[in-house]
């Protein structure tokens, strides 16, 4: 559709991703989407992300389809001596390495930051781990669930009287991935001004989630009270039932209250000035929530949303993925898209943001394990065909054969 190819923000940088986690994969996917040449260096036995459910009918991991798109794949064991030598050859022709090993592992392998830097001045290393490179928990295992537990988020998600609640799927991983990408970009900016000065970017998944927890954390300091989970579900705390699903009517400004109550036919509530302030509504919620929710229950979610939008009242229908895939707004914005090299394949969710001059693009579907092994080693490391064949035959490169 585009007549000329738009420039890309990051097409001057090459990234080697030796991470094996969703957080690492999302970091390099972020950079790949903006034009970086990202080479996923997969263990020969397979990338652990490729085992994550849910699976498509043919057994393909959907989280892997999502997080590995836009990358090339090279099969190589970085924890073997010969594999590592090839990795270092590639690293010397790269700008960024992304990794997710337990702190101490790279050192044991002889490819920690000081040693990488001694072979490639200016290299940027992004480490994305559950608890970071230092501190008493550095080596403790963790995942998205423990990041929610340790950051405070689980303690406020869900309902009082029930168990604390994790976020859905890979929230800590995605947050850490974007923070890692930001760290890499900030380091690139510094390197542009100070040639040869790379650095180690250390991202702890728990800290990125705790950073997102900041308002509750400081709020509970100022109030002197621990922030609890919401005591119950009503219109003041989240989505409530409507005719065909659930709907959040989040009242903040005075006119939201007036206009929403008038729309719902609750003129006496609309005209009662006391309800226009949020602290009063919180204290007197029992006086109105049932009446308002009874009225809301007579509406379909999209009718209510459209009528409130006309009145410029903030509100939100709970949308399913089917509804979002059919959503006219997202379609007009071109959100849903297919990888350029797989036009008959699955439709992907698109960009988190639009860059005017250097658009996000989805050029490649998820690579098959090791799909670009020879291409990458030939093109970037300049390895001859004979040598490549030898490496393949001796099991240094290429995916392991499965029966």
């Amino acid at each position: 559709m585009q007549e000329t190819v738009a420039p890309k923000a990051l097409d001057d940088i090459r990234v080697l991703d030796i991470s094996t986690s969703v957080g690492g994969a999302w970091c390099s996917r972020f950079l790949a989407d903006l034009g970086a040449d990202v080479i996923a260096i997969e263990p020969r036995a397979g990338y652990p992300v490729r085992a994550l459910a849910p699976l498509a009918e043919d057994g393909t991991s959907i989280p892997a389809m999502y997080t590995l798109a836009n990358k090339r794949s090279l099969s190589l064991d970085v924890d073997s001596t010969r594999g590592r030598k090839l990795f270092v050859d590639l690293m010397r022709r790269s700008d960024v390495v992304v990794e997710s090993t337990t702190p101490g592992t790279l050192e044991a392998w002889g490819i920690d930051y000081p040693r990488l830097e001694s072979r490639r001045k200016g290299i940027i290393l992004a480490s994305i781990t559950p608890h970071g490179q230092s501190g008493e928990l550095a080596a403790a295992p963790g995942n998205d669930l423990t990041a929610f537990a340790r950051s405070g988020w689980a303690s406020i998600n869900g309902l009082g009287g029930r168990e604390p609640l994790n976020g859905s799927a890979f929230q800590a991983s995605y947050n850490a991935g974007v923070a890692g990408a930001a760290g890499v970009l900030a380091a690139l900016h510094h390197r542009m001004a100070h040639p040869g000065e790379g650095q180690h970017v250390d991202i702890a998944e728990v800290e990125v989630m705790a950073s997102a927890f900041a308002p509750a954390l400081l709020g509970s300091q100022y109030s002197g009270e621990v922030r609890p989970r919401k005591p119950r579900i009503d219109m003041t705390s989240g989505p409530v039932p409507v005719k065909d699903g659930h709907f959040a009517l989040t009242i903040s400004r005075a006119h939201f209250w007036r206009d929403a109550m008038n729309l719902l036919g609750l003129e006496d509530l609309a005209e009662d000035k006391r309800y226009e302030t949020s602290w009063y509504r919180q204290q007197h919620r029992d006086e109105f929530v049932n009446r308002v929710q009874d009225k809301m229950a007579g509406w379909t979610k999209m009718d209510l949303f459209e009528e409130l939008a006309i009145r410029r009242v903030v509100a939100g229908p709970v949308l399913t993925m089917q509804e979002l895939s059919e959503n006219e707004h997202l379609r007009e914005r071109g959100f849903w898209t297919k990888p350029a090299n797989a036009p008959d394949g699955a439709t992907y969710p698109g960009a988190a943001f639009k860059l005017g001059k250097t658009p996000w693009s989805l050029d490649r579907r998820m690579p098959r394990p090791g799909e670009h092994t020879l291409e990458v080693l030939r093109e970037i490391a300049g390895i001859t065909e004979d040598h490549l064949l030898g490496l393949l035959e001796s099991g240094v490169i290429g995916p392991e054969e499965h029966e």
Partner: protein, 421 residues
């Protein structure tokens, strides 16, 4: 501690959470962020001029002005300077346009119509500062049928597909405990601006960043979106379970003396972790139980598995249990409450939770910069600013304005401090 963005300046119109978090991250990375605020219409996260002083601050003599003592504002504006300027007054706009000449970055999270109405849409900004990077963080983006539909975190959570996925397995869709989509949007906006900065470093060209909170958050549940596209199925709410691994949950442990609830999160993502968990539990027979012999079996018999773990965890002390599991290589953590996170040893040891002195609110622990950079660390260099704290300082430094000129702006109601006259 100099940050990687030393020498980069943002003149920003951000407010509430998504925008202010985005630009506070820029400040912690070393950029000089000057936030422009309007006295007539307080940032909603400053609260209101007649709002209450928070309970724990009432004994602090400097805590005089509610709008400078709001935890919401003070938590997401670390590292910035502020000036008050009323852009609806021509003299105020004139000053803003002069500041713009000194901006590498502008960010805002108004409704999409606002910048255009003020006459400072991207193209108009480019006439003043041709290589400016302008980032707009809005509810639904700057195009499409919902462009002007208002939204906040609490309504983007449902419209991005997130609420439908968050909740207990037997319960309705939920919103998070505080408006999580703002944080997702702010972080993505931060990274987007840095990508635009990289392109500007290479080419000298700025650009426009259009971030839709709905899209940024939908991308964060993109695996569930792709699942629907591939399988036609809406993913069910999972509670604390994982689609692949079992066990994976949060379990009650012994309460502390005052009856305060205590919870531990634990998971096994490999057979080795499962074996270690059984050992820590002192239930070696679990390993030999056919129902739980493999991860697939544990997934298939997860109700029984969770019941057994719950019965055992209820006899344990939270921190001791989490520490023993971690030491054995099992994924585990105490569920920390908001006070415990602020006191957490790991986060403090790494310099991520820091004590910040605020000129009115006093000294409190706050979360700092979640990006640790070995050579150019950045970090918290200033507390959140008081309203208008840097009016004269910034206007003098960037525009060479005299005190008399500034006083004239105050008399016009363009700048100044506190409730409008």
């Amino acid at each position: 501690m100099s940050g990687p963005l030393e020498g980069v300046r943002g003149i920003v119109l951000t407010q509430a959470w998504a925008g202010t978090y985005c630009t506070s991250l820029l400040a912690m990375a070393g950029a000089d962020i000057v936030q422009v605020e309007v006295r007539k219409r307080l940032d909603s996260w400053r609260g209101s001029y007649d709002g209450p002083i928070p309970a724990a601050l009432t004994s602090i003599p400097t805590a005089k002005h509610a709008w400078n003592c709001n935890a919401l504002y003070n938590s997401v504006n670390l590292g910035k300077r502020t000036v008050t300027l009323d852009l609806a007054i021509p003299e105020g706009m004139a000053v803003f346009k002069r500041l713009l000449e000194h901006a590498d970055i502008v960010a805002e999270n108004f409704s999409p119509r606002v910048l255009g109405n003020l006459g400072i849409a991207y193209e108009q900004m480019c006439e003043i500062k041709p290589d400016v990077i302008l980032a707009s963080l809005s509810a639904y983006g700057h195009s499409g049928p919902w462009e002007n539909v208002p939204g906040i975190g609490g309504t983007i959570e449902p419209t991005s597909g997130m609420s439908a996925l968050l909740g207990y397995r037997d319960g309705p869709p939920l919103n998070s405990g505080q408006m999580y989509p703002d944080a997702v949007a702010g972080l993505n906006g931060f990274a987007a601006i840095l990508a635009a900065l990289h392109y500007r470093d290479r080419t000298g060209q700025g650009q426009y960043v259009d971030l839709s909170m709905q899209e940024a958050n939908l991308a964060f549940v993109g695996d569930a979106a792709l699942e629907y596209q591939v399988t036609g199925q809406q993913r069910a709410r999972l509670g604390n379970r994982h689609l692949t691994f079992a066990p994976h949950g949060i379990f009650a442990t012994l309460p502390v003396e005052d009856g305060h609830e205590q919870w531990v999160a634990l998971a096994a993502e490999s057979e080795a972790q499962w074996a270690a968990l059984c050992e820590v539990a002192g239930h070696l027979e679990w390993r030999d139980d056919a129902r739980w012999a493999t991860n697939a079996a544990r997934k298939a018999n997860e109700d029984d598995l969770e019941a057994a773990i719950a019965a055992w965890a209820a006899t344990e002390h939270r921190d001791d249990l989490a520490a023993r599991l971690s030491a054995a290589g099992v994924i585990a953590a105490p569920v920390l409450d908001s006070h415990e996170v602020a006191a957490d040893r790991q986060l403090r040891e790494r310099g991520f939770i820091v004590e910040v002195d605020h000129p009115e609110a006093g000294r409190w622990p706050q979360t700092g910069f979640p990006v640790h950079l070995g050579r150019t660390p950045g970090g918290v260099r200033r507390p959140a600013p008081l309203q208008g704290q840097h009016n004269l300082e910034v206007l003098q430094e960037l525009l060479g304005m005299s005190e008399d000129e500034y006083e004239a702006l105050v008399r016009l109601g363009v700048s100044g401090v506190g409730p409008p006259d």
